[in-house]
Each structure stands twice: as structure tokens, then as C-alpha cells.
């Protein structure tokens, strides 16, 4: 079976671990346990044409004093870039990381998530920002690790895109 490595990247606390937990184990927890280094999870997805074994790298959040080292990107076939829709500055953090990904591994498929869309009253992403993202990147979703909104779609979308490269 074909295997593909995906990196899930973004600022601290945007919901990377939660999105993976929702996708792989159908679980969500309100409790925040900040990730260290990398945790690797696997899930096989059945696409129309074939099965793909996804190797999902849950990487620690990018912080001011703790940048993500680029060796984690090695061998990745796709990236899921996550921002927290209730904290606008996390989007520029994601864009900054993505630049480094492009420098190191070149042009690979990406899916962009504005996560925590269930927190309606705290939502801070204007329609203008969403439109700009849509113009720049092919796959942009507003997601929720809590309700599961667009979580499956995200991983299926990236799997399809990685196979079509």
C-alpha cells in the first residue's frame, strides 16, 4: 500500500493535536496539553482509486523562542496548515512556516484550515481574509476539531492531492 507523510503545522494552541485526534480516534478534549517535538499517528484512508496509508506528523506549535526545525519537513508529501480563527495573528505564523516548507521541500500540496469555527462569538477572521486565502491556496476550510466540521474532508483532500502530484 502506498504510504504518505503529512505534516500538521501552525502556531501553538491552534488545534493541531485536536484535529488529528478527531480524525484518527473520533475524540475531542477541551483540555489543552501542549505538544513537545513530534507525535506520529497513522490512518488508512480509502479513496476512490486506492487506499493510502497516511503517516500524520503532529508537530509542536511554532513559538517565538521555539521555531519548528525544518528537518521535520523531510520526506513530507503534503502539509496541513492550521490557524486559529479566533486569533488572527496565528494565520501569519502559519504563512511564515509555509514559506520555510516551500524553501525546503519545494511545492507540495497544502490544505489551509481556519480552525475553531464552532466558537462563533469569538471568531475574528473577516470575509476579506478568507477570500484572500481562497485566492492564494486551492484548499481552504473553516474547521472544528470539536464538532468535526470539515475534518474528514481535510485529510481526504490532502490524500487526493498527494496522489495526483
Amino acid at each position: 500500500m502506498i504510504q504518505k507523510k503529512i505534516c500538521v503545522l501552525g502556531a501553538a494552541g491552534v488545534g493541531k493535536t485536536s484535529l488529528i485526534a478527531q480524525f484518527v480516534y473520533s475524540k475531542f478534549s477541551e483540555k489543552y496539553l501542549s505538544s513537545m517535538g513530534v507525535k506520529i499517528d497513522r490512518k488508512i484512508v480509502q479513496l476512490e482509486s486506492q487506499q493510502v496509508n497516511l503517516m500524520i506528523w503532529d508537530i509542536h506549535g511554532e513559538e517565538k523562542f521555539k521555531k519548528i526545525t525544518s528537518s521535520y519537513f523531510r520526506g513530507a508529501s503534503g502539509v496541513i496548515m492550521v490557524a486559529d480563527g479566533t486569533r488572527p495573528d496565528t494565520l501569519s505564523v502559519a504563512q511564515n512556516i509555509f514559506q520555510r516548507v516551500e524553501q525546503d521541500v519545494g511545492n507540495i500540496p497544502s490544505v489551509w484550515l481556519l480552525n475553531k469555527v464552532d466558537l462563533e462569538d469569538q471568531w475574528c477572521m473577516s470575509e476579506g481574509v478568507v477570500k484572500q486565502l481562497n485566492e492564494k491556496y486551492v484548499s481552504v476550510y473553516q474547521s472544528s476539531a470539536k464538532t468535526g466540521e470539515n475534518v474528514e474532508q481535510t485529510f481526504f483532500n490532502i490524500a487526493e492531492n498527494m496522489l495526483n502530484v
Binding site: G13, L33, M36, G37, V38, K39, K66, T86
Partner: protein
């Protein structure tokens, strides 16, 4: 078994030993695999491999079978390090790849202990980050909506293009918040911050002040923009006094509850500023630019807890005489400045 392990540790190839001592952090239980150069077949296995593999990696097989993290990275072409890979049992391992002349190496080191230690610090700082985001959003919305409301009511008579006007600017900030911040649970920090913030923001709004900016543990406000019956400096000074009084009341309550008490300092300066409204209807935001704004910020940073520092222009423009002490202060970036110190006395309340 331990005999053999002991032996193989001593036999660690020099290239790996050098790499281990190069790292300042402590690394434990090293194990290594020697690989064919430019290929990825296992040539030898050494060190405490049981710590990382359930079964001994088989010689002659492709390393990707034993070591899945290397997916997409083989054969090795240059040196790299994958730090803090979490293994199934929750331990953390550094994986170091080294290319030598006639073979390649993979070195495994257990870094669980230092990783767990560091996790605690990271958790505190990230919890705070999330909570501060929430806190900031609530306050910003408050600031923004006030501007929009006054604007709609006609209470804001500012031209979008910018206008010169004499205003008073007030800075207020919690003293000693940073060390407090580091020693406490994030939730407690934010709740405390909210209590002190209320003490600072309510008096400003009550005196027709406009909150321009919320800093992490303080605020900047301007007086003389919203309509008021009093002069802008009088409003600012009364707001300052009320802030200190509210803080004192809060501190008395906290003392009774056995909680830590914090102080607040205030700086006020007045002068001509350019006022303007930026942004469109929904997200209109107000700005004030003038030399006295910086002066007010400097005064605030020099104000001890319980004091208001006024600049000369503010002092002279007050309609009510106040009991304060003139003194000369060297303000950073401004130089020697005549300032007036008003001290909040507990008997004042």
C-alpha cells in the same frame, strides 16, 4: 546481557561519540545503526537498542522497516537531526543521522527527562497565550464598540482626515505583574488581571475618557475627544484618582481573602495631538498622535504604585488646585523633565 551492552557502549564509533559530547543537553541510553553508504541496509546494531526497538533490527534488511520515521528520508544524503520524537510508550527520542565516508549512521538518544521538564514551562506559557487571546478579544471589542456607539450618537466630533486638538493622555499599568505572572496558574492570572483591569477601565469611561489601547496589563486612554462638561485634564486627573481608589478597595478585599495584592501607577500628560479615525464603518478605530503621548507613557513607567505623575502642562491647566509635589525626573528618551507627583493616601477614601 548487561555485560554485552556495556561492551557495545564502549565500542561506540568515534563519529557518534563526538556527536554525543557536542550536545550540551544530556542524552541517555544511546543506540545506533550502521547503514550501507548511499543505500539503507543495516550493517551493524549497537548500544541499548532494546530501549527503542521491540525486536533487534535485522542485519541486511532495509532500515525503513525497523524505523518508520525515516519515511521519505532514505537513503541518507546529508546529516540531520529529528528531535523529540514521541515513541508509542510516551518516551521521547532524538534521532540523529550522520553520513561518514563509507557508511551512514543513525543514532538514537532518549531525551524524555528534559522534554518532560520543559513541557511544564511550555504549558504555562501557552495556556497564558490562549487565555490572553480571549481576554484581549473581549477588551478590544469593548473598546471598538464604544467608539462605534459614540460615533453613531454623534458624540464623536472627529473628522476622518485628522484634526488638531489639545487632549490629555493617561497611561495606567499594574506594577509587578510580570513576576506575578510567572509564579501563578494561568487561569488565576487572567482572573486577577480582569479584576484590576475593571478598576482601571471603569473610571476612565465614567470620566468621558476613551480607551485607545489595552496593553497586556494596562491601558492608554485619551480625554478631550468625547464631549464632556469639564476640561480634559480635570477629567483625566479625576479618572486617575478613581483608579487608585478602586485599586485600594480591591486590594483591601484581596487582603481579607489572603490573596496577593498588586499596585497600579498612573501617568498623565497633555498637549496638542492629531486625531483621526481609521478604517471603515464597522471596524473604525481612533488614533491620537502627539509628543505628549510618549511623555505620558514615560511618566506612567516612572510612577510608583499608588501615585499619579503629571507633566507640567497638565498641572498648570488643572482648574482645581491639587496637593502635589514638584520634582525633576530624567525620562528615558526625553531628558530632565519637571513632573508633579500626586500620592493616593489611604485616608483619602
Amino acid at each position: 546481557m548487561s555485560e554485552r551492552l556495556h561492551h557495545s557502549c564502549h565500542a561506540m564509533p568515534e563519529i557518534l561519540a563526538k556527536r554525543l559530547t557536542l550536545n550540551a543537553t544530556q542524552r541517555f541510553q544511546p543506540a545506533w545503526l550502521q547503514l550501507t553508504k548511499g543505500g539503507s541496509d543495516i550493517l551493524t546494531v549497537g548500544g541499548a537498542w532494546q530501549h527503542y526497538f521491540d525486536v533487534s533490527p535485522r542485519l541486511g534488511t532495509d532500515v525503513s522497516e525497523a524505523c518508520e520515521v525515516l519515511l521519505g528520508m532514505l537513503p541518507l544524503v546529508d546529516d540531520f537531526e529529528l528531535s523529540q520524537i514521541q515513541l508509542v510508550d510516551g518516551q521521547y527520542t532524538d534521532v540523529i543521522a550522520l553520513c561518514d565516508h563509507d557508511s551512514d549512521w543513525l543514532l538514537f538518544c532518549d531525551v524524555s527527562e528534559e522534554t518532560e521538564k520543559f513541557q511544564k514551562y511550555q504549558q504555562i506559557s501557552n495556556d497564558l497565550l490562549l487565555l490572553q487571546g480571549q481576554h484581549q478579544r473581549t477588551l478590544n471589542r469593548y473598546v471598538g464598540s464604544e467608539v462605534v456607539r459614540r460615533d453613531a450618537e454623534g458624540g464623536l466630533s472627529i473628522k476622518a482626515k485628522g484634526e488638531r486638538r489639545v487632549i490629555s493622555t493617561l497611561f495606567t499599568d499594574i506594577r509587578g505583574f510580570t513576576p506575578f505572572n510567572e509564579s501563578q496558574d494561568a487561569q488565576v492570572v487572567i482572573e486577577t488581571l480582569n479584576e484590576y483591569m475593571t478598576c482601571m477601565l471603569d473610571p476612565i469611561l465614567n470620566q468621558a475618557g476613551m480607551i485607545d489601547k489595552i496593553t497586556g496589563d494596562g491601558a492608554m486612554a485619551v480625554f478631550g475627544v468625547l464631549d464632556s462638561e469639564h476640561g480634559c485634564i480635570d477629567d483625566a486627573f479625576v479618572a486617575g484618582k478613581q483608579i487608585l481608589k478602586a485599586v485600594q478597595t480591591l486590594n483591601e478585599q484581596r487582603q481579607k481573602q489572603g490573596l496577593e495584592q498588586l499596585g497600579v501607577g498612573v501617568g498623565i500628560a497633555s498637549g496638542e495631538a492629531v486625531l483621526g479615525m481609521l478604517g471603515t464603518h464597522h471596524r473604525r478605530c481612533f488614533t491620537a498622535i502627539g509628543p505628549h503621548v510618549n511623555r505620558a507613557a514615560r511618566l506612567e513607567s516612572n510612577a510608583p504604585a499608588g501615585d499619579i505623575l503629571l507633566d507640567r502642562d497638565s498641572y498648570l491647566a488643572l482648574h482645581q488646585p491639587i496637593d502635589c509635589l514638584p520634582m525633576s525626573l530624567n525620562l528615558k528618551g526625553i531628558g530632565d523633565t519637571c513632573v508633579y507627583v500626586w500620592h493616593h493616601k489611604k485616608t483619602n477614601t
